[in-house]
Assembly symmetry: C2
Homo-oligomer: 170 residues x 2
């Protein structure tokens, strides 16, 4: 059974975090909700809560087949942790599947993995993506190599269809 | 393409409404978000919004293959509308697929379709289900005929896997 890291911090976009987590469980993948602290309650920007299961300071990312980076304001917090950037970059280099939606690419920018990559995101951060060397598209989802990106909550069905297809291919 | 009604009212459980709607879209079903008024904003109990697309006073339910009843406090409001009860009962009698999760069965109780049926729900309303003639189970999901029920938000993956399987079978 493949294992996936679902990163979380406060102010995550409620649907962009929960839809992918529940969707991968429906597909029988093992999803590990991972934050700075384990067993801690985090709250989405609308108020939906989640309790973390793992700390990103303790997990061994080699064991995982992919990672999910939610949108909302959580990515602004997540990109400040050295261990988050190490995990995202490490998984990227191992050809594991990187999923990022909406503001999620802020984390990938700081992990230094978007140079030369085709990416979608919320239009709000398109300049950050371009300045990081990425090519930005206004599309529901984009796949480039092992990076799957989604634009916004209502694109979740298309983003996750692609993410799951890619995850099953490795 | 099969069409599904997604009922909504204020104070819906945010994940129990949105996960099924997005999930059916991922599966290429056509989902019609249906409320008392069309083009009106409703807000979930945590605060995630939705804008309705159809009014249940105007739709022709014969055209639909199934219906989704979310949890949260929305079912307490939905069961008060005669047209909601007419639609749920009508679809049930046509062997269309009825999906209900958490507090959703309150609506089915008032539509008079749970007598003799096996059902799960939030434990809070088990007595209402029993008093309506249903047999209550504490399980992630239950399927009985054309009624699929789910217990709570974290059971969404199992509930929707079953709902989709059943929907594809008709």
């Amino acid at each position: 059974m493949k294992k996936i890291i679902a990163l979380v911090e406060d102010q995550f976009d409620d649907l962009e975090f929960w839809y992918p987590v529940l969707r991968l469980k429906e597909e029988n993948f093992e999803v590990h909700i991972t934050a700075e602290k384990e067993n801690q309650r985090y709250v989405g920007k609308y108020g939906v809560p989640v309790v973390s299961e793992y700390s990103f300071d303790k997990i061994d990312f080699d064991e995982y087949s992919g990672i999910l980076i939610p949108g909302g304001w959580a990515p602004d917090k997540l990109r400040r942790y050295e261990n988050v950037l190490k995990i995202v970059k490490g998984l990227y280099e191992q050809n594991k599947i990187i999923g990022q939606i909406c503001h999620g690419p802020w984390v990938s920018i700081s992990a230094g993995i978007l140079n030369g990559k085709k990416v979608t995101s919320t239009p709000g951060i398109k300049d950050d993506i371009k300045n990081a060397g990425g090519e930005w598209f206004d599309k529901p989802f984009v796949l480039d190599g092992n990076i799957v990106s989604g634009r916004r909550p209502m694109d979740l069905p298309f983003y996750m269809r692609e993410y799951i297809k890619k995850l099953k291919s490795i």
